[in-house]
Structures are given as C-alpha cells and as structure tokens.
Symmetry: C2
C-alpha cells in the first residue's frame, strides 16, 4: 500500500501540473513492476486533441517506451474515474489493475455510465480499486471549476 | 448521396491499405464541408498503439490540421461500427454525422454493446447512418481473418 499511495501522489502531481497549464486537472501514472513507465496530465487543450486524456496519453507513452501494443501486467493510477473512451482503451491495453481517485457520475464509464467492464463487449477487465486519495482528487477538480466560473 | 458513397469508397480504400500492412482492415475518412480533412487506416500494430484505431487517428489528424480541439460540423465515414473507445471519442469531438459500413455485434459501441449515444453520460450524439457499403466492408474483414486463420 505504500507504493500504491506513492503512485497516486504522482498522479495528483500530474493533475496539479495540468491545472497550471489551464487543462482540466486530471493526472495518470502507468506502473509496471513497481517502476513508473509513464506519467502525464490531461492535455486536450494544449494539444488540440480531444483524445489526449491523461489515461490515453500514458498508455500511448508506455506502449512506445516498451515497444509493444499491450501493457499486460501494468497498473494504472488516475485521479478521476476514467471516461467511456479511456475505460475501453484501458481494456484494450490489457491493463491489470486500475486505481482511481474520485468517482465521476456525469462522465465516468467504469462504475458509472456504461460500466464498460461489466458488458459482454468488454473482452478484458482490469481489477478496479477506487476511492484512493479521493478527496484530494475531487478538491483539485472542484477548485478548478470554481475558478473557471469566477473568470467567466 | 454521390459524395457520401465517394467518401465511404475512400474509407474502404484505407481499410484495404491497412490490410496490406497486416493490420485489421478498417478505414476512416473525416470530411468537413465536402472536403476530406483526414483519412487513415487502423494502425495499432505498426504503431504499437492500442488507441490507433482509424477513427481516433483521423480525429487527431483533423484536430491538428484545423488547429482546434473540436470538429463541430464534421462528418466521419468508417467501414466498421466504431468500438466503445471510438464512439466516445467521436462524441467528444462533436462530430455531426457518423456513417459506418458493417455492424460489429462483438465489439461495437454504437448500435451494439454499450450503445453509448443513448446513455445519459453521453453529452453529444452524432446522427448515425449505418449499412453503407456494408457488404464490402464486411468482406474485407472476413477475408482478412480467414487468411489469418489459415496462416496460424
């Protein structure tokens, strides 16, 4: 659990980095055998890329770094419940364990919405652990959107 | 309809190109105002990138070409029913119309599986037109997997 918390702290740091760049503050870390393979924050605005969610970015970075299409045995730490797109990408990448912070009732696709891992069209489901550093992850997002609303 | 068929023909050509590279043969074309902005075939093996489905690739290419995060008013032509990941990415990109060829009962996320556009966590749904060049799209895939099985 010491490692687990450490990796989620790194994901929170990526979320804070995303916030500093004006992005919706979500961060992700991809770990294989206790080694961090990739870490990233959400980058959709900076990159003009709607697919550049933190989870997609770390999966792509890790696949490139390892020179392989799948990440069997890898674990993903992300500050917010993955959306439908990311939930499916995590499945395709054969990720072993998914740890996420705050739930996302409006946009999540793991324990909310389409609950992709419980569907017959899902052909690999990771083990899912939620609620880790939930309050910190939620606070970063809430502060970001409160600030946005004040600016608008 | 002349244009519509023409664009699906281009998508089929991208699927055949993917097949020639040893990829699962699926192709996509992104169109804005009757102009092709991006076209691509599936590239997951070549690129070691599980997210490099044809649809994700053309969305990323088009966002980069246009310098914008969203593709409001754009239409997407794809030879196979998009999977759950791609269905969500198409929604995030605010694509106007989705035209697809063959249905995918095992992996589709539009008219099969999670039926993402009918869910409350989907915040933009494109108009969906299916069955265009369905037989050609399905034949390319069937031939590819038959050949694969003979090789194995």
């Amino acid at each position: 659990m010491v490692h687990t918390n450490h990796f989620m702290e790194l994901a929170l740091a990526e979320a804070r980095g995303a916030k500093a760049r004006g992005e919706v503050p979500i961060g992700a870390v991809l770990v294989l055998g206790n080694t961090v393979i990739a870490k990233a924050g959400n980058g959709t605005r900076e990159l003009n890329d709607v697919t550049a969610h933190a989870e997609i970015t770390v999966i792509r970075m890790a696949c490139e770094a390892l020179g392989q299409e799948r990440l069997t045995g890898a674990d993903l730490y992300v500050t917010l419940e993955p959306c439908t797109m990311c939930a499916a990408a995590i499945s395709f990448a054969r990720i072993r364990r998914l740890y996420y912070g705050a739930e996302d009732p409006k946009g999540g696709g793991v324990d909310n919405g389409v609950r992709f891992y419980r569907q017959p069209t899902c052909h690999h489901a990771p083990e899912v652990y939620s609620g880790m550093a939930e309050q910190d992850a939620a606070d970063i997002l809430r502060d970001f959107f409160q600030q946005k609303r004040m600016e608008d």
